[in-house]
Symmetry: C2
Subunit: 303 residues, 2 copies
């Protein structure tokens, strides 16, 4: 795990700049962001909101934020940064609900795994005196819920920050600094670029893993070894969160079509008994993956 050397620098600057960060939605990721602000950004007030009473109670018991509120408008009223950490498809509604309570100059962001629709909804719904920047901190765990919140979940994680031509440059800088101050390696791109890339490297693999499990006969699965278990690991992810991601990435069908086409190539080569072609397709994949692993090792993102 490599933390940028500028980590402390960003921390010093961001605590001077922000007075309050409000997190809407206290699942694993939202609660971990609130807890990280509380523990790591000394002097910045951490406020959390959840619509569930049991979540609020747990969040208070665990002290994931300075204050856990049940009124969303009140929770965002004093915020410099508001972070949506609910399912992506709730964002539009939440943006509309908080629009009247957001203070002037406030930055709204989110932690959704797709970025096209959040940008569109922000442009449609948020008032002009508010600035929207997209965020996608790539941190998670098999665990779910506020009870698994950790103040180091974001430490060493990648975080993509998304901007369009109309994104306020100062707000962009603030959000880059915010995530960097929590230990993230920040990358900036457009929402279109983000969704295209993550369709291929994250959402398509999820589809492939789920299809693989569904295609196998249940009676046969007890013979599955490490290969099957690793290849299908991500299919154990929560169905509701993944449904939300898959239904909001407009590039995904293109990626699935490319996957189907690659499967069809392999099938054809096997059906033809075409050694040369089967070998080429397998070797192409092997080399491409070896290059990926070499890149990750070099960057110390893998050991």
């Amino acid at each position: 795990m490599v933390i940028p050397r500028t980590y402390f620098f960003h921390k010093v600057l961001i605590v001077r700049q922000l007075r309050q960060v409000t997190v809407i939605g206290l699942g694993l990721l939202g609660a971990s962001v609130a807890l990280s602000v509380l523990r790591k950004l000394e002097g910045v007030r951490s406020v959390g909101y959840s619509h569930r009473a049991t979540t609020r109670r747990k969040a208070r018991q665990m002290e994931v934020a300075h204050e856990v509120m049940e009124d969303m408008g009140a929770a965002v009223a004093g915020a410099d940064v508001v972070i949506l950490a609910t399912p992506i498809r709730t964002f539009r509604e939440i943006m509309a609900a908080i629009a009247g309570s957001l203070p002037k100059g406030c930055i709204v962001t989110d932690v959704g795994s797709t970025k096209g629709l959040p940008h569109r909804w922000a442009a449609e719904v948020l008032p002009g005196h508010v600035r929207y920047v997209g965020s996608h901190p790539i941190a998670g765990s098999e665990k779910r819920g506020v009870e698994f919140a950790r103040d180091d979940l974001l430490y060493g994680a990648d975080c993509v920050v998304t901007r369009t031509a109309s994104t306020n440059p100062k707000a962009l800088t603030t959000m880059k600094r915010f995530w960097a101050a929590l230990g993230c390696r920040v990358k900036v791109m457009s929402p279109e670029e983000h969704d295209r890339i993550y369709a291929d490297v994250s959402h398509m693999p999820h589809i492939a893993a789920a299809a693989l499990v569904n295609a196998a006969n249940s009676d046969e699965l007890r013979f599955a070894g490490r290969g099957f278990i690793d290849t299908s690991r991500i299919a154990s992810g929560p169905a509701n969160i993944w449904m939300d991601i898959l239904l909001t990435n407009e590039n995904l069908c293109d990626s699935i079509d490319r996957l189907s086409s690659e499967l069809a190539k392999l099938r054809q080569a096997i059906a033809d008994g075409d050694e040369q072609r089967v070998y080429e397709l397998l070797e192409q994949a092997r080399r491409k993956r070896e290059a990926l692993i070499a890149y990750k090792m070099k960057r110390k993102e893998m050991t």
Copy 2:
């Protein structure tokens, strides 16, 4: 890792029964079998054969067998058990080449990952005084070659032993005992059942992993995280060995068709924005995989 309690019992019986085991082909798996016989089955002579001079030299230096020979006929002449550990598609030719040298009552087996064609070839090519049983020890490593041979590679591994209606029952018992004596958990099935099951749990995942890597844009791969890396892990396997497996499993195209059909279902549900259907398909995969993991944990095949 769970070793059957009967491990020592099988070992005591097998060393009384066998005088010589000959392994044809000294790659990682073949050399590990020869080394396991040498180290674990005291009193049984371990003989190895490789057509490559450099492999023979390394095998001798490492002492993976009592004797490493360059004449295949001579290597099998005194064998009670001959184990083919070369690529599957060489088996027919090797069976024909050794047919005249195999002693009466000798058992021929192999360690190939598909079993339909080896059984067919054995029936066509091996002389009547020889008994064929199929074997598939599910052991391997990312490493390749005689230099990575280990005497514990088979210890705790599953090993499928395959038989047809015409398989000699005593030869079947001997082969079950042999693998059990090396620490394998032995399962017996028909070659058809084996190939159908392993098409789904091993060969189809390999195809899925390779297709997934080939479908992703090389420039985007640097954004890949743990999900992509795990889902594609097996695509790093050696292309020549996998080509051999994929081209000899006659059930594989059926499995690929089922995978394609599951992909198409997910794609359709996403394209339709059909929440309920996307959720159902993801949840079906999640539950099926959780049941698999629970089964593996219970059997202590996973921790």
